[in-house]
Amino acid sequence: MPDARGQIRRLPGLRLWLSGGWLLLLVLAAIFAPMISPHDPLEQDLFAARLPPFWEQGADPAYLLGTDSLGRDLLSRMLYGARLALTVALVAGTLTCLVGATLGLIAGYYRGWADLVISRLVDIWMAFPPVLFAILLIAVLGTGLTSIIIAIVVIDWTRFSRVVRAEAMSQGAMDYVASAQVAGRSRLGIALAEILPNVLPTIVALLTLEMGIAVIVEAILSFVNLSISTDQPTWGGMIAEGRTSIYQAWWVLVFPLFALFLTVLSFSQLGEGLKDYFDPVLR
């Protein structure tokens, strides 16, 4: 029988490289935004309003991707927007994952009244349209980075708890859990040492997915003008602005939308790729 171990850590696929590459680029852009931005993202120049990107006629090479209707440099605003997007993605994604996965594991493995309470809470949560819930929370908490993060955790923990609960339940029915019980492992020990490692790839995939979702939620909140103070550049804010001037200056919408597309797609593909990568049993 050939030794299959060599194949376990098979090379991460193309999508892992592509999505990882884009996200790395984004991180670099966010870190070095003040250094590489050609303009102050807030600086208005009404004489340079709605300049098209460099390849179009009437472009100004000083504004590579053009300007918006207030004459602000789009490239600089995009770079600064990446900062907020990534902060929200990392912090909100991780917190949501911790809260949701913990509750899901408890509900799925311990069952009983804990499951009853958590499942009922999930039911109640599922009765809200999430976007409306998020907008409502921001209206209550006030705008700002902290509010956005809290809102995302509050609306989206159910995504983790539902999936982890189901996964923990199916793992809990496997005989290796029974054999751990026969060996005398405690309930907590089984949950952490036997079930959690088998649920982890799913959690990791969900985590990166959630990071993409967090970026979207932030963009949506910016879009309805409820994210953070209006003088900070965000992709969602730029999209809102671009939506109103879509017939006059399409590029104001296109560039942030493109960045958002790539970022969300990368996060979800990264998750799928990592899930395969971490799975020891290749089928």
Partner: protein, 271 residues
């Protein structure tokens, strides 16, 4: 046979177990419960190899799992050595667990896919506070006839027979008094089946184990067991020594069972 109390490792009395019947579950509301074990009473003597046989739905696997308290009986008594374990809480059971172990039917699902063989065998030892774990893991592997290099393999890298040996090694590493083997050869080819059975027979002899062997196959049971419990619809229809049961089956169901076995012999009359 001497029936003194100390000779019995298990005394089971009026054991009853029921499950919710999910196939009859209405769309809304709770499922009705089906009686799986309907009041079983029997003893297991130390050093016995007890065969538990029956068709599908007879309750044979349920009985095994109840005996090592992988599930909670509705009522009745299970006395293991001197302790009543039928309704013991999991926390109180835990220190006892090293005395009764189990080998599972499906080794693929009973071996955690994310652990290496060494870790799988060492886990229970560590939990039960054994010392010299490294040595004990090596010994257990040797006893089941697997090379030491297998310690670093993952379950999916092994063949069916090898996985089943790992399952056996994990159980015997704890030096238990009692092992439950649940249909452990039903997924194997006859050649590996014979190997695993021979191994089990040898271990019982060398380690002085008491073994309960759940199977649907009377031929396999005859080879291995000293005593046989025939289950039918959750009830014991016959409880006899092996030779006695095969030579002179008492229950009608036992006779039907025996008559239905196709022997590898074209001359067998099969009316």
């Amino acid at each position: 046979m001497n029936a003194a109390v100390s000779d019995q490792i298990y005394k089971v009395q009026d054991l009853r177990v029921s499950f919710p019947d999910l196939s009859k579950k209405p769309l809304f509301g709770a499922a009705p419960r089906t009686q799986v074990l309907k009041g079983l009473t029997f003893d297991v003597a130390k050093g016995d190899v007890l065969g538990i046989v029956g068709g599908s739905g007879s309750g044979k696997s349920t009985l095994g799992r109840a005996m090592i308290r992988l599930l909670d009986p509705d009522s009745g008594s299970i006395r293991f050595e001197e302790t009543e374990i039928a309704h013991l809480r999991e926390d109180d059971l835990r220190p006892l667990r090293k005395h009764f172990q189990m080998i599972f039917q499906d080794p693929m699902s009973s071996l955690n896919p994310r652990r290496q063989v060494g870790g799988i065998i060492a886990g229970p030892l560590r939990l039960q506070g054994f010392d010299n774990i490294k040595v004990r893991v090596g010994e257990a592997l040797e006893m089941v006839g697997l090379p030491k290099s297998f310690e670093t393999r993952y379950p999916h890298e092994l063949s069916g027979g090898q996985r089943q040996r790992v399952g056996i090694a994990r159980a015997i590493a704890l030096k238990p008094d009692f092992i439950l083997a649940d249909e452990i050869v039903s997924g194997l080819d006859v050649s590996s089946q014979a190997q695993v059975l021979n191994l089990l027979e040898q271990l019982v002899r060398e380690l002085g184990l008491t073994l309960a062997f759940v199977s649907h196959d009377l031929s396999v049971i005859r080879r291995l067991c000293s005593r046989i419990l025939v289950l039918h619809h959750g009830e014991i229809v016959e409880n006899a020594a092996t030779a006695e049961l095969f030579d002179n089956p008492q229950a009608a169901y036992t006779r039907t069972l025996l008559d239905a076995i196709p022997l590898p012999d074209p001359d067998q009359v099969w009316a």
